[in-house]
């Protein structure tokens, strides 16, 4: 009897508990947290690829005069190809549209040439990505035409001659854009550029097949060149001024239309982004990056529109574009090394870590990614490269450390932000 009463009591108690649990569940479903969770499935973006660093708009706003000037410089390429070769310089700060201008122009020129039955190719090479080496730059061009061309066994001079021979044989004209020319000048010196600008001089009767567009941030770096090279290059210069706030707002409006859903970004937000980007030196790339990040913050907070607060939060997390570009063009092991650094700096409050600590962190990352770690000398080269690109700061230890070692600091980029970015790129 006692057992029966006890079982009945347990049954009643458990029933009540279930009821309570159900009612808590119902209550929970009404909480803002749940609402937020439901809303997180909504995204403010329509097509976020339109905000990607590599997205090329069909035309470039506020750069029409410069585009027309380029068209004048290279008019001969579609009217009398081979009669002459031209060189032009595009100069402007980060985010002023240099690369986009060259690419859009190159593609349009290719299209016009194709319509006229001229075999003209536009080849865009980033000198920094090619480690500032003429050999690697020319190799990229030649591989466009011969994908299985041997990658070793000759000098850059031989390769230049081979390139001209390939162009002659296939009857191709090339407009070669050398982006971030500074890297080539720093690495190879003045002679290389001289060779490139004067290569047609020894080919008097042959058609001139290779024209150049050189893209650089400051004209100062040409001071390292000799006078004759400088005069050859500086004949046709196109300066890209920093974008003004209104111009930036125009650019943002176009991108908002392409990338965001209707009505999720209002005029005030565009104004705020444009204002921030103007302070960053009229940098359109920064503006677009900031807009994208603000959209991401809106998505993460479950908002149905991008607010000014999203922009403010985003602006505190966007690190300067210069370093971002540098990170983008790193090779795999440089990225792994940097990832190790970022992780170590997340754990420590120290301003600098030693080369030994950096190597240790790198070895752990290599293990994680299943890569065979590079040795000390190679890592030391990476440190020099990264330091030259302003991603890290490297200095030789002075006192307090036994012996001499390289000290590495990460003063320009937030460690967690860098880690996230690198992990994303490495996974991709």
């Amino acid at each position: 009897m006692l057992i029966l009463i006890f079982t009945f009591l347990i049954y009643v108690f458990s029933f009540k508990l279930t009821e309570n649990h159900k009612s808590t569940d119902n209550k929970y479903s009404e909480t803002p947290l749940r609402r937020k969770k439901m809303a997180s499935y909504f995204t403010v973006f329509k097509d976020e690829s339109k905000l990607d660093i590599n997205y090329l708009p069909p035309s470039l706003s506020h750069r029409e005069p410069q585009f027309n000037l380029l068209t004048r410089f290279f008019q001969f390429a579609t009217e009398s190809p081979g009669k002459m070769a031209q060189r032009a310089l595009i100069v402007g700060k980060v985010g002023t549209g240099k690369t986009a201008l060259a690419k859009i122009f190159g593609l349009k020129l290719m299209q016009t040439a194709q319509e006229k039955g001229i075999n003209l190719h536009y080849v865009h090479v980033n000198c920094r990505e090619r480690k500032g080496s003429l050999f690697l730059i020319l190799q990229q061009v030649i591989l466009d035409f011969y994908p299985h061309f041997p990658k070793r066994g000759y000098s850059s001079e031989e390769l230049l001659q081979m390139l001209l021979q390939v162009l002659d044989e296939k009857d191709i004209f090339v407009l070669l854009a050398l982006d971030e020319l500074e890297a080539l000048i720093q690495n190879e010196g003045a002679d290389t550029l001289y060779k490139l600008t004067r290569m047609h001089e020894s080919r008097l009767k042959s058609p001139q097949r290779l024209s150049l567009i050189c893209i650089l941030r400051e004209l100062d770096c040409l001071d390292a060149l000799d006078e004759s090279t400088r005069s050859t290059l500086q004949r046709n210069i196109i300066f890209l001024e920093e974008y003004t706030k209104n111009q930036l707002r125009d650019i943002l409006s176009t991108r908002v239309m392409l990338a965001f859903r209707n009505g999720v970004v209002d005029e005030e937000v565009k104004d705020l982004v444009a204002e921030q980007a103007e302070k960053e030196g009229g940098n359109a790339r920064y503006a677009i990056e900031l807009l994208w990040r603000a959209g991401k913050y809106a998505d993460a907070s479950g908002l149905r529109e991008v607010t000014a607060d999203c922009v403010r939060r985003a602006s505190s997390s966007v690190y300067p574009t210069v370093q971002k570009d540098a990170v983008f063009s790193l090779e795999l092991h440089e990225k792994l090394f940097l990832l190790g650094l970022a992780r170590r700096f997340k754990q420590t409050s120290a301003t600098y870590i030693t080369m030994g600590e950096a190597e240790e962190a790198y070895n752990i990352v290599c293990e994680e990614y299943g890569e065979k770690p590079r040795r000390h000398t190679q890592l030391w080269k990476y440190v020099n490269n990264l330091s030259a690109s302003d991603v890290i700061r490297a200095k030789v230890s002075e006192g307090g450390v036994r012996g001499k070692t390289t000290l590495i600091g990460l003063p320009y980029v937030p460690a967690d932000e860098l880690e996230r970015e690198l992990s994303r790129r490495l996974k991709a």
Binding site: Y146, H148, F149, P150, G153, Y154, E158, Q161, M162, V166
Partner: protein, 93 residues
């Protein structure tokens, strides 16, 4: 070169098959991909070139070989290899 001379050599068939698949290659790469040594690859390539089945272009010291599309035997070899590969794929299915 007689047809049996071309097809009796495993190395030559490998080279021809490779050039059908990847149209243009240099000697080192041909040797690497076919598993032949450099000297043997050159020997076979010279024989095939003499028979008109392949031809080469020189860029400085680099010689790039491809099938000689102007030669009817070469085209016949290409058709045979492509047909063979297609039949193999069908049988696998």
């Amino acid at each position: 070169m007689m047809v049996e001379e071309v097809f009796s050599s495993r190395g030559r068939v490998k080279i021809l098959r490779l050039l059908v698949e990847i149209s243009e290659l240099n000697i080192s790469e041909i040797a690497r991909r076919t598993g032949l040594n450099y000297a043997t690859a050159i020997q076979h390539l010279s024989a095939l070139e003499e028979a008109g089945l392949v031809c080469h272009k020189s860029f400085g010291r680099i010689r790039i070989y491809r099938l000689n599309e102007n030669n009817s035997h070469s085209r016949a070899v290409k058709d045979l290899i492509e047909g063979w590969e297609q039949a193999e794929k069908k049988e696998e299915k």
